[in-house]
Amino acid sequence: MTSRLKAEDLGLWRGDRCLCRGVSFTLDDGTLLQLVGANGSGKTSLLRAVAGIGRLDEGRLSWDDQPIRRPSAYQGDLAYVGHHNGLKQHLSATENYLFYQIVAEYSSSITASEALGLFGLAGVADRPVALLSMGQKRRAALARLLALKARLWLLDEPLGSLDAAGTALVMRLLRQHLEQGGMAMVSTHQPLELGSLPVQRLEMGTVS
């Protein structure tokens, strides 16, 4: 098996405070990396840096043995759901979904109604996102994962404000994604119920 995503000696600084240094990991097809650590330990910063949004102060990231530069093939291959949902408040969940499907490099053939239906949003898919509840907004944001045909999912606290059914659905989608050879980096405090699938854990905040 080849290492798709390889991180060597990553370091993140905010001002003169070191969030982490010497973080190394590899992600292969069909594997998941769970980020754990206290609040403020740099999980979000690390995910943003791996996504190419935030600044990476030290270390190297490579994808398919190529150093990552933007805009690169790598970015067409990843889906990121961060703290912010990335949804336009005055557009409906359907319109938001379609936007990301249109601009994606590899978009899936899953239609908006299928994806939003799966996330239990069929009844509110045409309402402005501003009128949805926190959990429904989170579901609409996660539905974006189905719009893109991304091999790497970067999820920052995906289970936040989700109910039990929503959590189970995310677990099911993660399992499917990994079984199809996808990869995921997930920051969450909840245990991931992925059966026999391999889960690596990366403890953040151990460097002071």
């Binding site: 990335g86 949804l87 990301y100 601009v103």
Partner: protein, 222 residues
């Protein structure tokens, strides 16, 4: 559909949904222009003399007001994060945003400017030239404002900082724009100043998207 068109159509749809907010800069333009005859004196000769400057300064201020929101909601709701991941050049997305912003906030102002010209006793024969100078000018201002808006989008107190950043850059636009309108009002040929404005606009469309994209990246880094 290309990412450029996708951003354009999404922006225009959003603008339509929030059309109440979108008319604020236009209202501001009308009100500021109307204050001058009230505050100075409604003598036709005086108004005719100051009309080019008043119309241009009012347009500049209205543009500044509308620029505050150029990237704000995208920053707050996480859309800018997603923009960085869209496998199209960020410069192209930024240009699409500027275009839609100008279409919604600049173009209505240009369309309305002859009406405000009449209010200011601006000669009717020169109305087309004045509107043309504002057409180029508002587009350049949208481009310049986008750089400032992208730079300050992550800051909490960006309200005053944005005009301080953008106004000095807008001075050449104001000089040539007001000059073109004044020349046309005097019956002179304004083509020199208009050509310069057009050249500035072409230069802006070519180079400014790179500055906007760099500013967005800087704002998103931490």
């Amino acid at each position: 559909m290309s990412p450029l068109l996708a951003v354009l159509s999404q922006d225009l749809r959003l603008a339509y949904r929030r059309r109440g907010e979108m008319t604020t800069p236009l209202m501001f333009f009308i009100l500021v222009t109307m204050l001058f005859p009230l505050g100075l004196s409604p003598q036709p000769e005086l108004l005719r003399t100051i009309a080019p400057g008043v119309l241009w300064v009012a347009a500049l201020l209205a543009a500044l007001i509308s620029q505050q929101s150029l990237f704000k909601s995208d920053f707050d709701d996480g859309t800018l994060e997603q923009w960085l991941l869209i496998p199209a050049p960020l410069e192209l997305l930024a240009l699409a945003r500027v275009a839609s912003h100008w279409f919604v906030s600049g173009l209505p102002l240009v369309v309305l400017s002859p009406l405000m010209g009449i209010l200011m006793n601006y000669p009717e024969a020169a109305m087309a030239e004045m509107a043309l100078s504002l057409l180029f000018g508002t587009a350049i201002l949208s481009l310049l404002g986008a750089v400032g808006a992208a730079l300050t989008v992550g800051l909490r107190q960006s309200g005053v900082l944005l005009p301080i950043l953008v106004l000095p850059l807008a001075i050449p636009v104001l000089i040539f724009g007001a000059q073109a309108a004044a020349q046309a009002a005097r019956g002179e040929d304004p083509s020199g100043a208009l050509y310069l404005l057009a050249a500035l606009l072409v230069l802006g469309i070519t180079l400014v998207p790179f500055a906007i994209a760099a500013a967005i990246r800087v704002s998103m880094e931490s």
